[in-house]
C-alpha cells in the first residue's frame, strides 16, 4: 500500500469494535451505581451545569434553534428543578413494605372488574381493576411533585409532615403558607366541572388506596363534599369515585411506569380555544333568549346562571357575561372586515380567534372616558382600531387600555393612522406604541396642569347654578349618576383637607 493508512485503519477497527460491543451489563451496572452511590447534590449540580453548557454550545454550533431555545432559560432555576426531581424519584425507589388493601366496592350495580385489555403505561402493560371507592378512603399522594415546595414549607414551620386533612387544606389553598397563592391548583374550577360531569378520568390508586395519579380530582371531590356551594345531587356525584386500582401483584416497576407515563409524558390534550368556548356559550345564550324574548334583567341573570352551570363556568354569571360581550365585539370586528374591507370570511375568523382576548379589553370601559365608550363615539376610530388589530399591529393587549387616551388626541391618532399604512409589522407596532405613549403623556400633563384655574371655574359655576337643575325630572336637570360622581369627588376632596381647617399641609 502506497499510502500509510495504518493509523486510520487502526482507528476504524477500534471504532468498529466499540460500536458493536454489547454493553447491556455495563448500562445496568451504571444504573445500579447511580442508585447506590448517587452524587451529592452539589456534585450533581456541577455536573448538570457542565452538561447544559456543553449542550448549549453544541446547539449553537449546529444551528439547532429548537434545542437552543429549549435550553435558553434560567440555568440555575432549571438545575434546581431537575435536581429536586432527582431526589423525589430517588425516594420512590424505596421498596414498598406490606400494606393494607383498600377493597373496591360495587356502585350503581357495577361490580369491580379487571380492565381488559390492560392499560399500557410507558410501554408496559399494567394490570388494574376498575371499581368504586368512597372519596374519603383515598389517601392523597404526599410525594406529589406539585406539592414539593408546600410540603417542605410546612415541614420547616411545623417540624413534621402534614396530616391527611392538612394535605387537603394545602391542595385547596386553605392552609396559609407565606407566598402560596390562593387556589393555586385551581381546585375550585375543577370542582365545578366535576359537580356537573362527575370524575370522568378515573384516578389511579395503589392497593392501599394511595393515589398515584389524580390528586387534584380527588381534592376537588373533597371540596364539593365539604362546601355549601354545591347541592345534594352534586355531592352525591363526588361521594363515590370510579378508580383504577393496581393489583396486589403490582411491582415497583409497575408503579413507576404509571407515574412516569402520567407525569413525564405529555398527553397532547389541548383545550378548546377561548374563542370556540365563548361561541358555544353565546349560541346557547341566544337560543335561550329566542325562547324568552321578553325576559327582564332579573330573568336574564337567571338564564345566564343556567348557561354558566351548563358549561361548568361556576355559580356566578361573570364568565358568561364576559364571553357574550367578547363574541358580540368579535362579530362586529368580523362584519366590518368582511363587508367593508371585503376580506375573506374565514381569514377574518382566524384573526378574530387569534386576537380574541383583545375583545375582552375592547369591551371594558362603557362609561364616558372608557375604551368601549371611546370606540362607540367615533366610528372611524373604531375602524382604525379594527384594522390595526387585524394586521397584528398591537404589540400586546395593554395597548388597548391606552386607546381611551388616544381617541381625543390628534397627535396620537396620527401615529396610529401611520401604523395602519405601514407594511412592516414591527415598525407599525412601534408607531402604535409611540402613539399610545404620546396620548398617555398628554393625559398626564392634562391632569396635572392648570388645576387651580379649572377648580375656580367649576366652583364658580356650581355656586351660581340654579337649584332646579338638581331636582330630578326638571328640564336640563343634572343626571343622578353625575350627582353621585360629584358627591364621590367632593368626599375625595374632603380626605385631602387638613383636619385643622387650613389646607396648608395638603400635598
Amino acid at each position: 500500500m502506497e499510502l500509510d493508512v495504518s493509523s486510520e485503519f487502526n482507528r476504524l477497527i477500534a471504532a468498529a469494535r466499540s460500536v458493536s460491543r454489547e454493553v447491556g451489563e455495563t448500562v445496568s451496572d451504571i444504573l445500579k451505581r447511580g442508585l447506590e452511590q448517587p452524587l451529592a447534590r452539589e456534585e450533581a449540580c456541577a455536573l448538570l451545569t457542565r452538561v447544559v453548557e456543553v449542550m448549549r454550545e453544541g446547539a449553537a454550533r449546529r444551528g439547532d434553534v429548537q434545542a437552543a431555545t429549549a435550553l435558553s432559560g434560567d440555568m440555575d432555576a432549571f438545575i434546581k428543578s431537575v435536581t429536586d426531581e432527582r431526589e423525589r424519584v430517588g425516594a420512590l425507589h424505596q421498596p414498598s413494605s406490606a400494606r393494607p388493601i383498600l377493597e373496591l366496592q360495587p356502585f350503581n350495580g357495577i361490580q369491580p372488574h379487571p380492565v381488559r385489555p390492560s392499560p399500557v403505561f410507558h410501554e408496559r402493560e399494567v394490570a388494574v381493576r376498575e371499581g368504586f371507592v368512597r372519596t374519603k378512603d383515598i389517601q392523597l399522594w404526599d410525594e406529589n411533585e406539585r406539592l414539593d415546595i408546600h410540603l417542605n414549607q410546612f415541614r420547616r414551620t411545623h417540624g413534621r409532615g402534614p396530616t391527611g386533612d392538612e394535605l387537603l387544606d394545602i391542595m385547596m389553598g386553605q392552609l396559609p403558607l407565606p407566598g402560596a397563592t390562593k387556589d393555586q391548583f385551581e381546585i375550585r374550577q375543577l370542582a365545578q366541572s366535576i359537580a356537573v360531569n362527575g370524575v370522568r378520568k378515573p384516578p389511579i390508586i395503589d392497593v392501599d388506596g394511595t393515589l398515584l395519579d389524580g390528586n387534584r380530582r380527588v381534592t376537588a371531590c373533597h371540596l364539593i363534599l365539604n362546601s355549601e356551594e354545591f347541592d345534594a345531587g352534586e355531592k352525591r356525584r363526588a361521594e363515590w369515585v370510579q378508580v383504577w386500582q393496581l393489583t396486589e401483584h403490582a411491582t415497583q416497576a409497575d408503579r413507576e411506569s404509571v407515574i412516569v407515563s402520567l407525569n413525564f409524558e405529555p398527553d397532547y390534550k389541548q383545550d378548546w380555544p377561548e374563542y370556540v368556548k365563548a361561541r358555544k356559550v353565546h349560541a346557547e345564550w341566544q337560543a335561550m333568549l329566542a325562547l324568552e324574548s321578553r325576559a327582564n334583567s332579573v330573568r336574564q341573570r337567571d338564564l345566564k346562571r343556567q348557561v354558566s352551570k351548563k358549561f361548568a363556568l361556576g355559580p356566578d354569571t361573570h364568565h358568561v357575561t364576559r364571553y357574550i360581550q367578547m363574541v358580540e365585539l368579535a362579530d362586529e370586528f368580523e362584519d366590518y372586515h368582511v363587508s367593508e374591507r371585503t376580506r375573506d370570511r374565514y381569514e377574518v375568523k382566524h384573526k378574530a380567534e387569534r386576537y380574541f382576548q383583545y375583545f375582552d379589553e375592547l369591551g371594558k370601559g362603557k362609561g364616558a372616558g372608557g375604551v368601549n365608550y371611546s370606540l362607540n363615539q367615533d366610528e372611524p376610530f373604531k375602524h382604525l382600531v379594527y384594522d390595526l388589530l387585524f394586521e397584528g399591529k398591537f404589540s400586546n393587549w395593554n395597548k388597548i387600555r391606552d386607546l381611551k387616551y388616544v381617541a381625543n388626541n390628534e397627535e396620537a391618532l396620527a401615529f396610529l393612522r401611520e401604523a395602519r399604512d405601514e407594511h412592516n409589522v414591527d415598525r407599525a407596532q412601534s408607531l402604535v406604541d409611540d402613539g399610545c405613549s404620546a396620548a398617555r403623556t398628554a393625559r398626564a400633563i392634562e391632569r396635572s396642569v392648570a388645576g387651580n384655574k379649572r377648580i375656580e371655574v367649576f366652583v364658580d359655576w356650581l355656586e351660581g347654578a340654579p337649584v332646579r337643575i338638581f331636582r330630578p325630572g326638571a328640564p336640563d336637570s343634572i343626571r343622578p349618576e353625575n350627582l353621585q360622581r360629584l358627591y364621590r369627588a367632593l368626599k375625595l376632596v374632603e380626605s385631602y383637607l387638613d383636619p385643622s381647617g387650613t389646607n396648608e399641609s395638603v400635598a
Binding site: 500500500m1 486510520e8 451489563e25 447511580g34 442508585l35 456541577a46 429549549a70 431537575v82 416497576a253
Partner: protein, 238 residues
C-alpha cells in the same frame, strides 16, 4: 462487573424504573426537547452512575473535571444523534460508549503529550505548521475514507456470507457515525441470534486484522494504563 441482581429482581417482568426514565429521555430527545431529556436522564440517576463508573475506571489518571467533560460531550452527542434521526436503540449504551471513548482519547492525548515532553523532541506526526487546519481536516477525511476502502477490499478475504454481512454492517455503522450497534441489533436486522453475531464479530475482527497485517498495516501500539475491562465480556472464544 458489579452485581446487578437487585435491579433485575425489580424489573424481572419488564423494564426497571431507571430504564423507563432512560427511554423517556430518548423519546424527549427524539421530540427535540433537550431539557426534558436531561430531566429524565437525571431522574434515572444514570449520570450519577456514569460519573462514578468513569471515576472508578480512570482514578488517578483523569481529574473529575475531565470526567464531567466526557459525560457532557456524550450527552450532547446522544441528543444530537437521537434528535436528528440516527438509530439509537439504547440511549444508556450510546452515552456510555461515547463517554468512555472520550476518556480514552483524553488519556491518550495526554499520554502522547507527556511522551513528547519526556523525549524533548517534536514528533514528525504532529501538525506541520505549513499545513493549515482545513488541509489537515481534508487529509484526515481522505485517510479515513481510504481506511474504510481498504477494509472493504479485505472483507471478501475473511470469508463468505454471514461473516461478511456482519462486518459490512459494522463498518457501515462507523462510517455513518453511529456509536452503538449491539450484536442483538445486528442480529435483528440479519435474522441471526445475538450469540451468533458475537461469534461472527469475534472471528471477523480477527481475520480482518490478519489480512491487514499481510498488507503491511501495522498493529496499534497499546497505550500503557488503559484497561478496557468490558472487552472480554463480548468476544466469545471460538
Amino acid at each position: 462487573m458489579a452485581d446487578t441482581a437487585d435491579l433485575r429482581e425489580e424489573s424481572r417482568d419488564g423494564k426497571s424504573t431507571a430504564e423507563a426514565f432512560l427511554e423517556v429521555a430518548r423519546q424527549a430527545a427524539a421530540a427535540g426537547r433537550p431539557d426534558r431529556m436531561l430531566a429524565a436522564l437525571v431522574a434515572s440517576r444514570y449520570l450519577d452512575g456514569l460519573t462514578r463508573r468513569l471515576e472508578n475506571d480512570w482514578r488517578g489518571r483523569l481529574p473529575r473535571s475531565e470526567i464531567e467533560d466526557c459525560v457532557a460531550i456524550a450527552v450532547d452527542g446522544a441528543y444530537d444523534a437521537v434528535a436528528h434521526g440516527r438509530l439509537v436503540r439504547n440511549l444508556g449504551a450510546w452515552i456510555w460508549k461515547v463517554a468512555s471513548n472520550k476518556a480514552i482519547d483524553r488519556w491518550t492525548d495526554d499520554y502522547q503529550l507527556r511522551a513528547v515532553m519526556e523525549s524533548d523532541t517534536l514528533s514528525d506526526s504532529r501538525a506541520d505548521p505549513e499545513i493549515d487546519s482545513d488541509s489537515a481536516q481534508r487529509l484526515a477525511e481522505y485517510r479515513a475514507k481510504e481506511a474504510s476502502r481498504v477494509a472493504r477490499l479485505l472483507l471478501p478475504r475473511i470469508g463468505q456470507g454471514q461473516i461478511v454481512d456482519v462486518m459490512t454492517m459494522v463498518i457501515d455503522a462507523v462510517e455513518q457515525g453511529l456509536e452503538d450497534l449491539s450484536p442483538s441489533a445486528i442480529g435483528e436486522t440479519l435474522a441471526l441470534s445475538a450469540s451468533a453475531v458475537r461469534s461472527l464479530l469475534s472471528r471477523g475482527f480477527e481475520r480482518l486484522e490478519r489480512e491487514a497485517r499481510r498488507e503491511g498495516i501495522t498493529l496499534p501500539e497499546a497505550v500503557p494504563g488503559i484497561v478496557r475491562d468490558d472487552d472480554s465480556e463480548d468476544c466469545e472464544e471460538l
